[in-house]
């Protein structure tokens, strides 16, 4: 058996997603459901998920609510401070496309108008089960990204970089 540190790191990455939860102008409905995941009923820590407050330690960015012209800078900033590999989850009807606020004068729209989103969770608000499921789906995407990293001509890392570039433009 060969000692393969990369494989171990990949295992670790999939078993310890630290989530940064950002309320981007949400009504708190989605936020309450997110925090419900941490309670003894759902207990996301059993999957190694920790709700961290620091983008520099986070792996998954969980955004709830519409993006407006005030906080789009903050959202972008948080995304940029997270180290690779990372994933973004947009939460609730507002996070998807602005929801009932979509045509308000101050609203930019969904989260994907500012940063690239990996998983969309519909609902107003989504159930805690759906949020946990979203993190699992995001991990699947992350896994694909990590596995393709050292394959020849792998697109994911490059695509990731391009995505970032597009987001910066």
């Amino acid at each position: 058996m060969k000692f393969d540190l990369k494989k171990w790191i990949r295992t670790g990455s999939l078993k310890s997603p630290w989530v940064l939860h950002f309320d981007c102008g949400s009504c708190n409905g989605c936020d309450i459901e997110t925090l419900a995941c941490l309670t003894p009923v759902h207990d996301v820590e059993r999957f190694g998920i920790i709700n961290v407050g620091n983008p520099k330690h986070a792996d998954v960015l969980l955004v709830s609510g519409t993006v407006n012209h005030r906080n789009k800078v903050v959202l972008k900033n948080l995304y940029d401070q997270m180290a690779h590999p990372k994933a973004v989850i947009a939460l609730g009807a507002c996070g998807l496309n602005g929801g009932i606020f979509h045509d308000a004068y101050n609203v930019v729209g969904g989260v994907d108008k500012v940063i690239p989103v990996d998983v969309y969770v519909p609902g107003c608000p989504p159930k805690p089960e759906a949020i946990i499921d979203a993190v699992v789906v995001a991990l699947g995407k992350l896994k694909g990204m990590l596995e393709n990293e050292d394959a020849p001509g792998a697109g994911e890392k490059q695509a990731d970089a391009e995505r970032d570039k597009a987001a910066n433009a």
Partner: protein
Amino acid sequence: MIVKLFFGIVGLAIAPFLGGLISGLDRRITARMQSRFGPPVLQPFYDVLKLLGKTPSAVNAWLILCSYFALMSSAFAVFLFFYQADLLLIFFVMTVGAVFQVMGALSVNSPFSQTGAQRELLQMLAYEPLLIIVFIGIALKTGSFSIESVYAQESPLLYSMPLLFIALGVALTIKLRKSPFDISASHHGHQEIVRGVLTEYTGPQLAMLEIAHWLDVVLILGLCSLFWATSWVGMLILIVITYFVEMLIDNITARLTWKWMLERVLLPSMVLCILNLLWLYALK
């Protein structure tokens, strides 16, 4: 000499795994105390492996240097412990690591990092005198600062220095950053000062500090084990009981302020220490 060197190297090789396992068990038992299921016992290893694989994004070179020094000095302190070296030397080596960690946190402008660093200094101010006095007590009893002389004792140190053991327990709680002394890194409430002293350490640097923390846990539990150095079983039981009490305290108390720590904890512990020292002196 060769045997001691062997012990030192083997101890240093085992310590990170032991520390990680203790940390995993801690998280699991803590979860059970809160009627949650809790993460796998190997969770701390997954966390550290993941952090090692993250893209490095330290904001300056100091952070990287300081995390290396913190890890090295923790590792060296653990080596010295298993090498059965001088207690004072172990103490100074351990302190160097803690100081470097604070220096790294102070080298950036983040207010959270700065606050955390100041609070970490206050925590050091609280646990270091306690540790030193415990070592002085050991020296008074055994006549030497060397760990070897502790193992040469015929009856457990706990009989003659129970109050000093309580003080060491307090120092352990502060050093482990367990509630109510979780003031520099807010371990349970990640949001409060966004991990304080650890805010600016990211990816591989954070992983190194995590490993250094495991080593510190092993070292301090090792120091506790010196109080029942006459038998392996007694040593193990003492460590298990001590750590379980630590977890219990961690779960039943809220975080308190640094002022409370200095006034209500450091001062009474010092009184306990001095009473015990006087008693040891009278017995002589």
